[in-house]
Structure formats: structure tokens, C-alpha cells
Symmetry: C2
Subunit: 342 residues, 2 copies
């Protein structure tokens, strides 16, 4: 069982500060609004913005040397740190939120790890768990909060969490801490007949609750980590029940395998971000496409408007240099990060 990504995500779960503001992510749009206006108004003019626009113009030009038929215009996007803020990781905040709720009927948890540390807000315990125990305790928390209930109940719990909580730095709902330039990019690609997918370490079912409204990405285009669910009778009615076995962690080198299982085509556009090396796999997979292809790697270098963090081994940036991927500086390439930025 691979628990790499959820563990790395935990590190993000820890260091967090506080701030303010408000707006709302857009969903799909019609095909008429594109041509004459700037499709990427939150992107600063420069080599990255023009590379994206040049690429799209080339693949849609019928008869052109780089034309790609619509059925092959597959684009995959990581979620945490690529489409929305990953400081903290919303799904791990959800885990803590659920554990605190569930603790009411589990009085024994206050003395039992890993529940104790969550209930006491002692995040150091989880860091130690990650360092010394390969994150097994953390995975227990995920299983406790993500399995055994009906899918309908799980979805309702996520909706409650999304309504009841706010991002600690911005004091905005998590669904508002999405990157405005990436929302524009998703729309721009769809307006040019790309099929946009999420391919992320987040839960398949977790991300679906927010993906359609927040990103305009339909449930069948959400590719995430999963345990196979089951179809059972609950109180006399057939329904889907959340599973906990054969967990597939969608991260690093397993992302291409998941894309193959789900889509069956190599994407021509892949976007990921620097943090854990978790997107090197899917970006490299995109590079193997015989069709024209484009790789985008987002670098978190804006500690004022967002967060600045790097990878210990610099693997993503090294791979970007080798693969000639387009590295986005959030600080320099984006006029706005969030829709609520001035």
C-alpha cells in the first residue's frame, strides 16, 4: 500500500498562518466568448502565457502540422497545489474535522493514538509518525473517516465540512482558494475542445464533491486515490458503501497508470506543481506522447500572496529542465492568484 503522497501532504497540514477577503470560482462556459478577448487575463504577458496560447492555436489548426483531433485533446491537472492551495491540504483538514465529530461517540479516543493527537491539536505526533512509522497511523485516520459509510453520507459530510470551515490564512472557504489563472486555463482548454481531468493524490470521491462546481470538471473526469467501494443493501436499499481495502494511492509513478486505467490515452497537456515530486510521473508520461504535448509545472514562490516552499531534492525542477517543461512562477507569471486578490 502506497502512502507516500498522503504523508507528504501531511507536512503541509502543519505549518499554517492567518489573514482575509471573497469571490467564487467559475464553472464551464459557452464556446462563444473566446476569440476576441484575452482568454487568460490573470496571466502576465510573457513566455509562459504565449507558449500556452501558441500550443493551443497549433493543436486546433486543422491541416496544420501540429493539429490534434478533439478526441485526443486530453489535459490532466494535479489538484492540491496546482488548482487550489495545499497549505493546508483540505482533505486532511476534513480528516481532523471528522475525527473531532466522531470522537463524541468514541470517548476512548482521547487516550488512544493517533486520535489523541488530533483531538489535542498536537500535530507533532503525526510528523513523528511519518518519520518513524511510515505514516501508518495517519492512514488509519484516513480509513476511519473515509470508509464504512454510504457514499451519500460521505458526500454530505464533505459538503458540511466545506460550508462550516474556512482557510486559516485567507478566511475563505476552501473552494474559494482556487487559483484564478488555472480556472481560466481550464476554461480556455475546454473552449478549444480539450477534455480537462484532475489527476491527483486526493480521494476520487472527495474531489468529486467540489470539482464540478469549482472547476467545471465533471465527476467522470476526476482521477484520484481510491479504495474500491461496494454495492450493498443498507436498510433494505441498494447503495454504494465506501471501501477500505486495496487502496490505490494516485501519486508519482502511479499517476500514469491511473491515467491509463481511466482514460486510455496519453494526455497532450499535463499540469502539476513543485513540492513532493508527485507530478513528475504524469508530466513524464505526457512527454512520451507522439502527438504534440505541453507540460506545465507550478512553482510556489510567492510567500506574500500565497506560500513559498521548495522540494528538498529539487527533483521536479530538475526534471522540468531535462524535459523542457514550462515552469510557472506564481510570483512573476500570475497577476492574480485568487479571484479575491485585488
Amino acid at each position: 500500500m502506497k502512502i507516500h503522497s498522503i504523508i507528504l501532504a501531511t507536512l503541509a497540514f502543519i505549518a499554517v498562518s492567518c489573514n482575509s477577503a471573497s469571490d467564487k470560482a467559475e464553472s464551464t462556459t459557452t464556446k462563444t466568448e473566446v476569440i476576441s478577448t484575452d482568454p487568460l487575463p490573470s496571466w502576465k504577458e510573457g513566455s509562459n502565457k504565449s507558449a500556452i496560447i501558441d500550443f493551443v492555436n497549433q493543436v486546433i489548426e486543422q491541416g496544420g502540422a501540429n493539429y490534434v483531433q478533439p478526441a485526443e485533446r486530453i489535459a490532466t491537472f494535479d489538484n492540491d497545489g496546482t488548482l487550489w492551495c495545499e497549505q493546508p491540504v483540505a482533505q486532511l483538514e476534513f480528516v481532523a474535522y471528522q475525527i473531532k465529530k466522531m470522537a463524541i461517540s468514541h470517548p476512548e479516543w482521547k487516550d488512544v493514538q493517533p486520535y489523541k493527537s488530533i483531538l489535542e491539536g498536537d500535530q507533532e505526533y503525526l510528523v513523528n509518525d511519518y518519520m518513524n512509522n511510515h505514516g501508518k497511523e495517519l492512514m488509519n485516520l484516513v480509513v476511519t473517516t473515509h470508509s464504512g459509510m454510504t457514499l451519500d453520507k460521505f458526500n454530505a459530510d464533505i459538503q458540511e465540512f466545506m460550508s462550516a470551515t474556512a482557510h486559516p490564512k485567507y478566511n475563505k472557504k476552501y473552494t474559494e482558494t482556487v487559483y484564478q489563472p488555472m480556472i481560466e486555463l481550464l476554461k480556455y482548454l475546454r473552449n478549444n475542445d480539450f477534455k480537462t481531468y484532475i489527476c491527483s493524490g486526493g480521494g476520487n470521491d472527495f474531489m468529486r464533491v467540489i470539482a464540478e462546481e469549482t472547476y467545471g470538471i465533471v465527476p467522470e473526469n476526476v482521477i484520484g486515490s481510491f479504495a474500491m467501494n461496494s454495492f450493498e443493501q443498507v436498510n433494505g436499499s441498494w447503495t454504494i458503501v465506501k471501501g477500505k481495502d486495496n487502496i490505490f494511492m494516485n501519486d508519482a509513478l502511479t499517476k500514469p497508470a491511473a491515467i491509463e486505467q481511466r482514460i486510455g490515452r496519453i494526455p497532450i497537456f499535463v499540469a502539476g506543481n513543485v513540492r513532493s515530486g508527485g507530478d513528475i510521473g504524469q508530466l513524464t508520461y505526457g512527454n512520451t506522447n507522439k502527438l504534440p504535448n505541453f507540460q506545465l509545472l507550478i512553482n510556489h514562490d510567492d510567500d506574500i500572496r500565497e506560500f513559498a516552499y521548495a522540494e528538498k531534492d529539487n527533483a521536479s525542477l530538475n526534471a522540468a529542465e531535462q524535459g523542457q517543461w514550462h515552469v510557472v512562477s506564481m510570483k512573476n507569471d500570475w497577476l492574480k492568484i485568487f479571484s479575491f486578490d485585488n
Copy 2:
């Protein structure tokens, strides 16, 4: 590991006769040809044909009580016995074809089961394996022929098989033994903004090789059995390699779980067939949809034009009666079965 469906499929793999004729399955079409002409010309006028057309007309009627928005118009179809002939099951014919080719570099196989029986054409061995050994040997054959090679090589092998072989009764390529009425139904649904999916016990990667050209079903809409593949360097190049572990058999009660994993919405239209009870799960899942929904169950009762066979326990027909599903008699409801029929 569930091996139920592949085992039941094996029974089909055995009893086969011989005959002749020629034509070609159609793929997707444009949206303009529908309205004025009969969308289902190979369907005899009657209650099943009118029920299908009534259902489609209702879900597309904007403002109507049964209107369903396009994003929710999900249709899932079993493959073997629902979209094409399952006597014999083409994928098991492929297994035998590959074993015979691979035997050249495995001289030891002529004395080792289960290879020996395949090489000698002794199918009784597999029946006994199914009866007494839960089909473990049969699964070994599937693993031997479906894993360890690159996906590109696997796909090329299937293409070679499809070109080199013919259906023993009709002397047609397997891709020509598709049911003309179902090809019309798939097109009719897509022309009305349904998304058509295969949900079948056949292999995810196996079916994709033929699905787009044969049915107009794109790779991302093929839901089948699978082992998770891996992304590896082979001869210095990154590529997908076929896996053999954590096999997920997409059959019976696991079909709803696979639909949930892949699509994340309950279908409003489900089609399966009588043989093993393997489609009761997805048909029942369709029944749980709060939106208007339609279930179609195909009964193989035409031993002249195709094959006549029933289920030992009659479970599918019993479930159809209970769920008020629409049961299609191939003999009485279909004017043509194959495009090459007169």
C-alpha cells in the same frame, strides 16, 4: 479475487459450430441525421422499441417532468452477449491464440497444464478446472497472455488476433459479429447527448482496442476488468507495462462499484444480457437512480440467426420481472441481428 465471470465465459468458449457472410460496424455519426428517419431500423415495431423511443423523448424534453440534463445522461452497456456475440467469447479465443504463439518459445508447455490442454484443443480440461478448481488454471492462462509486456505490444497482439481470426459460425471477423440493433441504439443515444459506456467483464485494455472503431465508444468510456498497470522504463523509454496484481473482476455486484469509481454518477440507461446473472448488479444500480431510468435485458433465444441459451437459475429474468426491466427477445424484437443478415 473474483473469477466468476471469466469462468462462466469459458463455458461459452467450448460449444461452437460453423457457417458464413460480410459487412462492417459503424462508429459515431453527426447530429443531423436523426429526427426525420427511424433511429432504430433494425428493431421491430413493438413495445420495446416504443419504450426506448418514449424514454429518450422524455429525458430530452426541456421543461418536461422527466427531463434529464445532458451531463446526467449516462448509459452503460455490457459487451459480451449485449453488444457482440459471446459464443465464443472473443477474449478467451485471444488467450488460446496467444498461448499457441507463445508455445514456440515454451516447449515445456506441451506437458504442463493448463497449457497442454489448450495446445491439444482439449477444452474439457478447462471445464473440469472450472468445476473442481475454481478456474485457477484458467486465470493463469489469462495472466500469462495479459501481463508482463508493454501496453503497445499487447494492443498490437490484439489487433493481429482480430485480423487473423474469424468467428467459427459466421466466418466473419469478431468485430463484425456486433449486434446491428445495439449499434443503432448506441448512436441514437449519443445523438441525443447521452454518454455511452461499456461496463463489462472483458479486459479494460482488451476492449479499448476495438471499442472506438466498432461501437464509437471512446477509450475513456470503456469500463472493464483490470490489473493496475505500471509506468516503467523499458529499453530506456518510459512506457506502460501490463500488470498482473490486484486483479479487479468487473462482474455482477462489482459492476456498480466500477461505475462509481469510473463515472461517479448512476446511469439512467443500462443494458445487459441473460447468461450468468452478471448484469443484475448494474441493472439494479440503474434502478436506484432518482432520475428517470431505463433497463434493457437481452435474451438469447434465436438459435437460427445466433444462439439460444438460458441461465440455470433464471436469476436475470426473475430480476427483470421484479424490476420491471425491458426484456428483449432477439428472435422477435430484432429484424436483423448482424449487419450482414439479409
